[in-house]
Point group: C2
Chain length 168, copies 2
């Protein structure tokens, strides 16, 4: 039987990352269509001390690879945060999806109680897999996906809840 | 052993609903402090065709009680959508938390494969519990919690990611 820790993570992360890919396509088409400076969206923040759109996407992708890798007992691959265009953000998500595809479901057996460490220095936190996934990684992941979506909606991009939920 | 369907749902829903309670307290304090018309926040939308703050809270609460009830094999209690103040929205969330507290973890045994129906008429959908929870109920729940949070942040309420994550 597939581990419930796999069922609750990788296929869900994949669903929402694929939604982001489709949403980024629509945002890029909107920008081209209206001849808008892409940075007006890529650097948009819902409030001055919130993170801009590009960071929301990067962090969503990071929580996806972090959750997948840690629950599978692997090192978390390190990606640079150097994306400056819609195409580069899509590549970042595609790279994250490709990484999730390398994780065999069987590696998640027993991940409920796997010891997981996040952060470093004073910010180091110790978890068991189950708490890490349900109470930390997924809530943060959904937060950044939704905030990216909300930034685009606030700027008039024609997307809807169906684009967020995507296909599964 | 506690069912993974319980572990992945009720304690997580409770975490974020409690976050919403604390966030609503801060929003209410802000409104009182600045002598703002509460409806300026309660009816605020991030874009004209998005739902206002009050509906985001109501729908988040609905996904919580819907997920809890359906996975536990119970009828979903019906609550009126008549909240008009911060106090009433907090009461709606507290009522939802009290309902989740009535669900014994043992009722979630085998919920992975439980047949679940949502919607009615042409919008009727049939699920098994696992797909319903991970790919539909939780993504929608987090969407509405985050959008409520983003509406407040966009309006300058001093809350942060810690308020969203809350305690667990």
């Amino acid at each position: 039987m597939t581990s419930p820790m796999y069922t609750a993570s990788v296929p869900v992360l994949r669903q929402l990352l694929n939604s982001l890919l489709a949403i980024l396509d629509k945002a890029e088409a909107h920008v081209n269509d209206k001849k808008i400076d892409a940075n007006a969206l890529l650097q948009f923040r819902l409030f001055p001390d919130m993170l801009p759109f590009t960071r929301q996407i990067q962090i969503a992708a990071d929580f996806a690879k972090g959750a997948g890798a840690r629950l599978a007992g692997q090192d978390v691959p390190s990606y640079e945060d150097n994306e400056k265009t819609f195409a580069e953000l899509k590549a970042r998500i595609s790279k994250t999806l490709a990484f999730l595809d390398t994780l065999p479901a069987s590696a998640f057996d027993g991940a409920e109680t796997r010891a997981i460490t996040t952060g470093s220095g004073e910010k180091t936190k110790h978890w068991v897999g189950q708490t890490y996934l349900h109470h930390y990684a997924l809530p943060h992941f959904f937060f950044h996906v939704t905030t990216a979506y909300n930034i685009l909606r606030h700027n008039g991009i024609e997307i809807g809840k169906k684009d967020y939920i995507g296909t599964f």
